[in-house]
C-alpha cells in the first residue's frame, strides 16, 4: 500500500530524512517512532504530496509520489490527521466536516451519511451545531480525526494524534484507532509515545533521520541486548554462582541471594542456567527476565545515531 525506497529530503543543506526504505501492507497499522526533529513529519508530508522529495522513490497504492498527476489521485485516497488539529474554530463541527466532504467531491447524501456516522461514533453528534471554539482538546482531536475520514480514505496518516491530550482523551483516540484497525484501514501512525506504538501498531519503524530499525514491537525488544535473567535464591550460594559463571553465557553477578545473568538471548539461555543452578544445589524462589523493553530498544537506537 505504501512503499518507499531511499526516500530522502534535504532542506538547504540540512538532511531531514535520509535514504528511508520501508513497505506498509494493506490493513496494517505502521508506527513511525522517533524523537522530535527525526524527520517523521517530513516523511508524512512527502507521502501526502505536500512537499517534494529530494531523491528516492515512494508509491502510495501504486501511484508515484512526486508525480503531478498522481499527486491529486493520492490525496484523494488518503486522509491526514496533522500534528495540529487545524479546525475552523468559528464554524460548527458539522460545517467543518461538510466543507472537507465537498472538497473530496462527496455528494450531499454521502456527506450527510458519513458525517452522521462519524459524529455518532465519536460521541460528538449532540455537539454537531456548536462552534468548534467551545470544544475541549479531546473533542477537537476527535473531530480532527473525523475530518480525515469524511471521504472514507483507504490510508490514514496520523501525526502524533494523542500528543497534548489528557489520559482519558488519549485513550478515546487510541480506542478509535483500534476500531479503524478492525475496519482494515491502513494506518501510518507518527508518534513518540512508545506505549501507544506497542499497543496499537503491527509493526514499528524507528527513525532518526535514517531508519534505525523496523519490525514488530516484540522483534524490536529482542533486538536489543541488555536483558537480564534475575534469579532469586532461597539463600546466597557461592557454588551456584561459580556454576553459572562456568557456563560462560554472559556476565554474572550476585548480590545477597539475588543472581543476575546478562545474556544475548535469555529465552534460549534460561533452561541451561536453571539446570546449572539445580545441579549446584540452589533452591529457586523466582526467575524473571527484566530490561530491554521497546523503550530500551528505542533509546539505544536513537542514541547510537546521536553519538554518530
Amino acid at each position: 500500500m505504501i512503499e518507499t525506497e531511499n526516500l530522502t529530503k534535504k532542506f538547504e543543506g540540512l538532511t531531514a530524512v535520509d535514504g528511508v526504505t520501508f513497505r506498509v501492507e494493506e490493513g496494517e497499522v505502521f508506527g513511525f517512532l522517533g524523537p522530535n526533529g527525526a524527520g517523521k513529519t517530513t516523511t508524512v508530508r512527502m507521502l501526502c504530496c505536500l512537499i517534494s522529495k529530494t531523491s528516492g522513490t515512494a508509491k502510495i497504492a501504486g501511484y508515484e509520489v512526486g508525480d503531478g498527476a498522481d499527486s491529486l489521485k493520492i490525496r484523494r485516497i488518503i486522509g491526514l490527521v496533522p500534528d495540529n488539529v487545524g479546525l475552523y474554530e468559528s464554524l460548527t463541527a458539522y460545517d467543518n466536516l461538510d466543507f472537507y466532504g465537498k472538497l473530496y467531491d462527496r455528494t450531499e447524501s454521502q456527506r450527510k451519511e458519513s458525517i452522521a456516522a462519524l459524529l455518532k461514533m465519536l460521541e460528538l453528534w449532540e455537539k454537531k451545531d456548536v462552534p468548534v471554539a467551545t470544544f475541549s482538546k479531546g473533542m477537537k482531536q476527535k473531530l480532527a480525526i473525523a475530518l480525515a475520514l469524511v471521504h472514507d480514505p483507504q490510508i490514514l496518516f496520523m501525526d502524533e494524534p494523542t500528543a497534548n491530550l489528557d489520559p482519558e482523551a488519549a485513550k478515546t483516540v487510541r480506542d478509535f484507532i483500534l476500531d479503524l484497525k478492525k475496519q482494515k484501514k491502513t494506518i501510518f501512525l507518527n508518534t513518540h509515545n512508545l506505549d501507544e506504538a506497542q499497543r496499537i501498531c503491527d509493526r514499528i519503524a524507528i527513525l532518526n533521520t535514517t531508519l534505525r530499525a523496523m519490525g514488530t514491537p516484540e522483534e524490536l525488544e529482542r533486538s536489543v541486548q541488555g536483558r537480564v535473567t534475575v534469579i532469586q535464591l532461597e539463600q546466597p550460594n557461592d557454588a551456584v554462582l561459580a556454576a553459572v559463571k562456568k557456563l560462560g553465557l554472559g556476565d554474572v553477578s550476585a548480590e545477597g541471594n539475588k543472581l543476575t545473568i546478562s545474556t544475548a538471548d535469555p529465552e534460549k539461555a534460561n533452561a541451561t542456567i536453571l539446570d546449572a543452578v539445580f545441579r549446584a544445589g540452589g533452591r529457586i524462589q523466582s526467575v524473571n527476565v527484566v530490561g530491554s523493553t521497546l523503550e530500551d530498544a528505542y533509546l539505544k537506537l536513537v542514541r547510537e545515531r546521536e553519538k554518530a
Partner: protein, 244 residues
Amino acid sequence: MNVRHSWIIALKDIRIFVRKRTVLYTLILLPLLLSVLFPLVIEYGGRSSGGITGPEIPGLLHSFEWFFVIIPAIIPAPIASYSIVGEKLEKSLERLLATPTTDGEILLGKSIAVFIPAIIATYAGATIYMALTDIVTYGKLGYFYYPNWDMGIILLLSPLALLLSIELNIITSSRVSDVRSASQLGGLMFLPFIGIYLASELGVITLDTSTLLILAGVIAVLDVAMFRVSTSIFQREQILTKWK
C-alpha cells in the same frame, strides 16, 4: 482547474468573515461613510461664503469619484488577512493542502472570497453616492450629474485596483504571522492611490477620461505581474516550510 473547489473554499471563508466584526465594519462603514459624506460636503460645504456654486460642483465630484478606486484598495486588507493569516493561525492550511485541490484552486478561492464582498461593498457605496449626489446637485445643476462615463471608468478601475490589492495582501500575508500586522501592511496599499489623488489636486495630473484609461491599463499590467508573484509564493511546499 476545478473552479467548484475554489468556490467551496470562497464560501467557507465568507462564512467565517461575516462573524468577524472588524471585517464587517471595514466592509460596510468605509464605503457607506464616504458615500454619504461627499454629498453632504456638496450640500453644506462653504455655507459661510454662500455655499458651493453650480460651476464648482463638477470639479469637486471629479475629485470625490477617485475615492471609489481608493476604497477597494483599502477594504481587502482585513479580509485577506483573515483569509490567509487566519488560516495560518488556526493551523488549518496543512489539512487544506492535503485535500485533492491544486494550489491554484486554493489561491483562486481565497481571492474570490475577498473580491466578492469588497466589490459588492464598493459598488453599493458608489450607487448610494451617485443617488445622493444627484439629489443634492440637481437643484444647482439642473440635470442629473450621474451616471456618466467618468464614473463608469472609475467603476471599471475599482475591480482592477481591488485585484491588485488582493494580490499584494496575499504576498504580505505569506510574510507575517499575525492578522493585525497583515492587515496594517496590506492597508498601506491605498498609499499609491492617495498619491494619485494628491497629484490631481495639486494639478500635477488631471484625472480626465484619457488619464483614467491609461491608469486602468497600468493597473491591469500590475495585476498580471502581481498575480505571477502571488502564484509563485502560494505553493504548498513554500507555505509549509518557508511561510512564517
